[in-house]
């Protein structure tokens, strides 16, 4: 346990240093040339921000003044968190149900499901945004239905379309991985044995197959977080969501960038640690 704590602490310290280095990158290019002394000065400045006890401030473009970062940022963090977690839950549930359906169907239906999922997976996030906005506008023009917002405002939060589009982007991603693994695992000996014992296919899926795929699914999700985050950036921008990424796109400040990087990294670090500690060893493919 102590070696685990030491390893995780070293990882956190290294990650903080790397994130400080990334947050100082905007100072690297000055007038189309790399400026390394300027970059290192920026790194020092960012390190100073981390070590200082004074509250962090940023330049608010709308108010044209320096303001304390923390109370201002809180509603934006909340909005991003709501959209990200809702979309993640929605897409995971839909992908799991799809995978169950895929597992139980015959080869012909499987082929149709695979082809259609593959086709939809090729559509990039931006086009889901445009299509969803177009459908809502078309719906409004033809039926007068105006309950769904197509863009947020400073006081109004927009949730439905951002969650829907982010879910659509991620769900095909998840589906592709899950169906691929199901096809791989289907002929595994432990499933053959369970089938021979007469265990029902739905029980086989939820109690045998899914626990074995859970940890690998988590690892897949972690390696593809960058793609989901990129989609979230553009969704927040296009729908005018009052979220964290929109906040940084408007207030392009070094301190905001550093805080944003930490706000993204730390929850994932905690999640990784919890996953490492809590997921049973047998689910990770190890001998319990």
């Amino acid at each position: 346990m102590s070696s685990f704590i030491i390893r995780k602490t070293i990882q956190l310290v290294f990650a903080f240093l790397v994130l400080v280095g990334i947050s100082a990158l905007p100072g690297l290019i000055v007038q189309m040339r790399p400026d390394f002394p300027g970059y290192f000065k920026m790194v020092q400045q960012q390190l100073g921000l981390l070590t200082t006890s004074a509250p962090l401030t940023y330049y608010n473009v709308t108010a044209s003044e320096k303001r304390p970062l923390m109370p201002d940022l809180q509603p934006f963090i909340q909005e991003t968190l709501v959209i990200f977690t809702s979309a993640l839950i929605c897409s995971s549930v839909v992908a799991l149900l799809y995978a169950f359906l895929f597992y139980r169907t015959g080869s012909k239906t499987r082929s149709i499901l695979t082809q259609s999922a593959r086709l939809l997976e090729m559509i990039p996030d931006l086009f889901w945004i445009i299509v969803s906005q177009s459908i809502i506008v078309f719906l409004f023009k033809t039926t007068g239905f105006n309950k769904i917002e197509i863009a947020g405002g400073f006081a109004d939060s927009i949730r439905f379309l951002p969650i829907l589009t982010l879910s659509l982007t991620t769900v095909f991603f998840f589906i592709k991985w899950l169906t691929g693994r199901i096809q791989e695992e289907q002929s595994a000996s432990y499933l053959e044995l369970a089938r021979a014992k007469g265990i029902h296919s739905s029980r086989l899926f939820w109690q045998q197959l899914m626990p074995n795929l859970f940890y690998r699914f988590y690892l897949f999700f972690r390696t593809n977080t960058i793609t989901i985050m990129s989609s979230l950036v553009v969704i927040e921008y296009a729908f005018n969501v009052q979220g964290l990424f929109r906040f940084i796109l408007i207030n392009q400040d070094f301190s905001v960038l550093l805080v944003l990087l930490l706000l993204i990294y730390v929850p994932f670090f905690i999640l990784d640690t919890v996953a490492e500690l809590c997921i049973p060893r047998s689910w990770k493919g190890e001998i319990s």
Binding site: I10, Q11, F14, A15, V18, L19, I22, L25, P26, L28, I29, V30, Q31, M32, R118, E121, M122, I123, P124, D125, L126, F127, I130, S134, V137, T223, T225, I226, M229, S230, L232, V233, V234, Y237, A238, F245, I248, L249, Q252, L257, L261, I264, Y265, F268
Partner: protein, 339 residues
């Protein structure tokens, strides 16, 4: 894998799409000096004023014109080589650099890989488009058109930054992939026989890595295109943004993603869906779609090849059964391949 691809009509269709675009685009540069026709106002034969730009799509101008009067079909043709060229260059540069850095590191001890993973972990969750925007925006916004640096220097710098930002994830991927190959039995034999790392790589690793590289190349192509689209939406066009009056901005190159961002601003401000916005949007959608389709065909060919290899390798039971049925012990073993 090559044989499967050569017989795949979808693969050829994708190549035809990319090839036609590139040929038309380069032909426009060679034969028309990269010119794009401009029509500000449209007059009838007797000189009567008919319409002003932006003109709707018609038989004469297939995709219509934009507000500046540029023929959108010609804009798209001229821009194709930029968009495809940039994505190809960045994908190629990333893969080449990642191989150069990753392969020698893969031959080192596992501890180095763990340390590298630890160091680059931060890079694996940060959206590239956001960091690229912060790095490039201060240097790539121009107010005076006369002060814009040469196209070559701008393109080189932007390609370099976008290449380097995507590099850490790819280096880690190649180290992992090569280490997995190095753990295979045939590599253990190659090492036992005294093969040097460069020999092991050339003879054993490279042929196994090559099919994966083609898939990774197409993935990087699409990822770069998406970053370019995202950046242009944030107001940073490829090759720099020319800041105009009243907060407007214009691209300096007829590149597709930049055109999309440029017309997107006009679309949100002025009218609902129009041809100005739809033309680059559909063009980009097609490009992403065909690139993804090409990737999926490559993946399919790779999968089929792996299935062929695994089904042609006899199991121990099959080998024993085949040996037991030999009429002559020195006859070659004939094992039927599973379908």
């Amino acid at each position: 894998m090559r044989r499967v691809l050569l017989r795949d009509p979808v693969f050829w269709m994708c190549l035809l799409f990319f090839g036609t675009l590139l040929i038309l685009s380069f032909a426009n540069s060679v034969f028309r000096d990269g010119q794009v026709d401009q029509i500000q106002n449209l007059y009838s034969k007797d000189g009567t004023f008919i319409a002003t730009s932006p003109l709707e799509p018609s038989a004469e101008r297939w995709l219509g014109t934009d507000r500046s009067g540029n023929d959108l079909f010609q804009v798209m043709i001229e821009g194709a080589k930029w968009t495809i060229g940039i994505c190809v260059s960045i994908a190629f540069a990333r893969i080449a650099l990642a191989l150069l850095i990753g392969i020698p590191l893969a031959f080192r001890k596992k501890r180095l890989y763990t340390v590298l993973r630890l160091l680059l972990d931060g890079f694996l969750i940060i959206p590239i488009s956001l960091i690229a925007l912060f790095v490039l925006l201060p240097a790539f916004q121009f107010i005076d058109p006369a002060q814009i640096p040469s196209t070559l220097s701008r393109v080189f710098l932007e390609i370099s930054v976008l290449t380097l930002l995507g590099l850490p994830a790819l280096v880690l991927y190649f180290i992992g992939e090569t280490r997995q190959l190095l753990a295979q039995e045939f590599m253990l034999v190659a090492r036992t026989l005294g093969g040097r790392p460069d020999y092991q790589f050339r003879i054993h690793i490279w042929p196994h890595l090559l099919p994966t590289l083609t898939i990774v190349f197409m993935q990087q192509f699409v990822q770069t295109l998406m970053v370019l689209i995202h950046l242009s939406l944030f107001g940073l066009f490829f090759g720099g943004t020319l800041v105009l009056f009243e907060g407007n901005a214009a691209p300096t190159i007829f590149e597709w993603a930049s055109q999309f961002g440029y017309y997107f601003f006009q679309f949100t401000a002025v009218s609902w869906i129009n041809h100005l916005f739809l033309v680059p949007a559909i063009a980009l959608a097609l490009l992403v779609f065909f690139a993804n389709l090409l990737t999926s065909r490559l993946e399919r060919a790779y999968r089929l090849r792996r299935q062929q290899i695994s089904s042609s390798t006899p199991s121990l039971a099959e080998a024993e059964a085949a040996t037991a049925h030999l009429s002559h012990p020195f006859d070659p073993v004939d094992i039927s391949i599973k379908s």
